[in-house]
């Protein structure tokens, strides 16, 4: 079986970059494989994908050594436009991929470029729309589509050209869970129905590890692991547990101290279904609840909301008549489906939006009386896109920029600056350009820029989008530390695992009100949709258990 694509000793450096993005990478890609590419930000995943369709080096420039062959084409001589017939690439940002203004024109654009004849284009556009369930959106203007729909359009546009190799660069990182699932399901269907070769770079390991036939893990531009999912999982147990799905981590704890056991008992589950099956097979140990650490008592009220009605003029209100109290020391996860009003609600906390009815009091003062800049002293809001916060050339200047707005003296400013740098571990990044940093670092810098004034309430809107697992763990730890120091933290998130790990209280929004509001262990326990993998597995036996740190394997007496 001839390979679809091959990389031979590829070393590539972006122009002006200090380090190589790819170091001596050699790979062969066989037909019908589904390859999952993992790695932290900056590890070279994106570069690897772009090397396969010619963007590296022809679009980006730089220094390129080695050889990449796709079908019979050598990317040194073939340009991206030649390779577009054989290789398709779906990018990460739904908004920056489209060229045309309507869906059908967008799909036709690529086909026009390839010189496909007009009647054939009509048919291919139609079939691409049908296969991704987009028929009703045929004439829709792109500006009215959601992120998930835009990514489907991008995928449709790519598959319309019927490429042999389909590359996807973190396609779900900007999407909510439901849209992500739809996209991944579409990708799996493609693989099964057409036998297309797929290479998918992703962070959400728990969603796609079971789809893959092969896993590549990149570190600093080199391939650290190239194995089947099971072998990869076994490798990850040794030092990279954050890369495993939660149920795998749970079962990995059982392997502690044992050498890699033989096949059946040493297998790690990738899904809850797998895990349930394995639970039955495991005879020598059972999971038991670990002693939980006592929670902290909530402190003073930071934000009080009374009879709040939230929405836009002329539309149905998103929330009606809700009451809410937020206390110091709480870490609140705000969850709910897309469009339920979570982001809209939190934008009332600092005055960006005004309520239709009701009142909000921030540290006793009515938010309606304050300007947003004044409210920012007590309530910091970090939006979904950290890039929106960067207006200066270095991280240090960003922090100083915020501090310059504060009505305090220079000495206090210096204190606050040092404190935030320490708290968020930014010492090494102070002279760097914030835009040049990796995803997780950028979120940290944006968070520093917003919270350096020591506000009592910190709100984060979807901070974990596109974040690799290691950074998620760090962020969770930082937020917990802040609540212990007396702040109140609110996190709007879809990431149930993340919420389970750090939140003390969970509020679920939906249908105009709060569907649930209580301690994390209660709200996320036994839930139909908002529950963690570990909880789904164990909630009958061990109710209230949310993640594997709360579980210990007890060896059964033989």
């Amino acid at each position: 079986m001839t390979s679809i694509a091959r990389l031979e000793h590829v070393t590539y450096t972006y122009p002006g970059a200090p380090h190589a993005a790819l170091c001596d990478v050699s790979l062969a890609i066989e037909p019908a494989e589904v390859i999952l590419v993992l790695g932290g930000s900056g590890s070279g995943k994106s570069t690897l994908l772009r090397a396969l369709n010619g963007l590296v080096p022809h679009f980006h420039g730089g220094t390129f050594a080695g050889r990449v062959t796709v079908d019979e084409f050598d990317t040194r001589t073939a340009r991206p436009s030649d390779l577009a017939r054989r290789v398709g690439l779906v990018f990460q940002d739904p908004e920056s991929q489209a060229v045309m203004t309507t869906v059908e024109r967008e799909i036709a654009f690529g086909l026009e470029n390839l010189g496909v004849e007009s009647t054939a284009i009509t048919r291919l556009v139609e079939e691409a729309l049908i296969s991704l369930g987009l028929s009703r959106l045929r004439h829709a203007p792109l500006k009215e589509l959601s992120g998930g729909e835009l990514q489907k359009v991008a995928l449709a546009a790519v598959i319309a050209a019927q490429p042999h190799l389909l590359l996807l660069d973190e396609p779900t990182s900007q999407l909510d869970p439901v849209s992500s699932e739809e996209l991944l399901a579409a990708i799996r269907r493609l693989s099964e129905d057409t036998g297309a070769t797929i290479m998918l770079a992703e962070h959400r390991v728990e969603r796609c590890l079971h789809l893959a036939t092969r896993v590549l893990f990149l570190e600093d531009g080199a391939v650290a692991v190239d194995a089947t999912p099971q072998d990869f999982a076994r490798w990850a147990v040794a030092g990279h547990r954050e890369l495993l799905p939660p149920v795998a981590r749970l079962f990995a704890k059982r392997l502690n101290g044992q050498a890699a056991a033989h096949a059946e008992r040493g297998r790690l589950p990738m899904t809850v279904k797998d895990a349930r099956h394995m639970l039955d097979l495991v005879e020598d140990a059972a999971p038991r609840r670990r002693a939980a650490s006592a929670g902290t008592e909530p402190g003073d009220v930071v934000l009080e909301v009374r009879r709040l009605t939230v929405g836009y003029e002329g539309d149905e209100p998103l929330l009606e008549d809700v009451d809410l109290r937020l206390h110091r020391g709480e870490l609140v996860a705000l969850m709910g489906e897309n469009g339920a009003g979570k982001s809209t609600l939190v934008r009332h906390f600092n005055g960006l939006l005004a309520p239709l009815r009701g009142e909000l009091r921030l540290l006793g003062r009515d938010v309606g009386d304050l300007s947003v800049a004044e409210a920012a002293l007590s309530c910091a809001l970090l939006g979904q896109n950290p890039n929106d916060y960067f207006v200066r050339d270095t991280v240090a200047e960003e922090i100083d920029f915020t501090l310059a707005q504060l009505p305090v003296d220079d000495r206090r400013r210096r204190e606050l600056a040092e404190r935030i740098v320490r708290e968020l571990d930014l010492t090494g990044l102070l002279e760097r350009d914030p835009r040049a940093l990796s995803g997780g670092e950028r979120t940290r810098v944006a968070l520093a820029a917003v919270t350096c004034g020591d506000p009592a309430l910190v709100v984060l809107d979807e901070p974990t989008r596109g974040m690799d697992p290691a950074h998620k763990f760090e962020l969770a730890a930082t937020l917990r530390r802040w609540t212990r120091d007396g702040r109140c933290v609110v996190v709007v998130t879809h990431d149930v695992e993340f919420a389970a790990r750090c939140a003390s209280r969970v509020i679920v929004l939906g249908d105009g009100s709060f569907l649930a509001d209580g301690p994390t262990a209660e709200v996320l326990n036994g839930s139909l949709f908002f529950s963690t993998q570990v909880n789904r597995l164990l909630h009958h036996a061990l109710p209230g258990i949310l993640h594997e740190d709360e579980v210990a394997w007890e060896v059964s007496p033989q």
């Binding site: 991929q97 470029n113 929106d388």
Partner: protein
Amino acid sequence: MSAPATPALPVVTGPHGGARDAVAEYPVAAARPRRGRLRVAPVARGLARRQPLAAAAFVAAVAFAAMVVVNPVQVAVLLAFILAVLALSGHLRDSLPYVRIAMAVGLFLAVLNPLFSRGGLDVLWETDLGPMTITVTVQGMVFGITTAMRLTAVILAFALLNVALDPDDQLGLLSRFSFRSGLVLSLASRLFPVLSNDAARIADAQRSRGLELDRGTRRQRAGARVPLLSALLTRSLERALDVAAAMEARGYGAARRSRWLHRRPWRAADAALAGGAALAAVAVLAGLLAGQTAYSFYPLLDDPRPQLLDAWWLVALAGLVVPAGIALRRGRR
């Protein structure tokens, strides 16, 4: 085919490119997530159902005639015709912003011209203003009203353009004119809503970190927004690169390029519209070059009636009215 676009905000543009904008305060408009709820496109009516090229030719001919014609009665006839087409297309309400601005500027002209033009013999009122003498004459007044009507006719002709061709059609036409320039325009139209949202988000983000954007003098507020402009600039350039990478990944730049023709086939009504427009344009041009379109207001008003029987005028009217009647007929396309 999606419906003709109406200006989404109560905007009144003008020659100064939006100097008189009445754009709604953005946070409310931009923050509303227009996601996943497609507005149902209303059924296209009247002129919008015709082929974009035919409709564009028609509007061009009408605008040309409106620009050239000076005879007050002829101008009035044209204006009435345009209003009738707008009304029969069911878009009279959508063109209200245009009517408003036409009336505003027209009123100004109707007042300005009589005050500052000379040569009429039937004086109504005279006064001295420093070194100048202001003479208001009957001829001046008729001139003023006629120029106001002429400008209104031209502006409403463009209203007709916006009604008959939605932005998508306009983009399509322009890309037939020049593929690459059409592509630039399409890209810019694609990126404009995205960057507008970016702008709103960036402003909110900076407010959230304590930057005061809403209080202070105008100069302070404008100056506070400069860092935002910088951030938006960088953002838009990054998006430009992403889009360019996506374009190349989709094969842009390959040697042989085809074009997707997915228009409805031309119907008789379309051909009539385009043919009539061409005929009318030629007739008007002929009249212009032959000097027959001229009409003098000074020193005495010409008799407007003889020009109504000029050949060029009658041919032009026929070329415009007859196909419009066919095009606006209700029923099947």
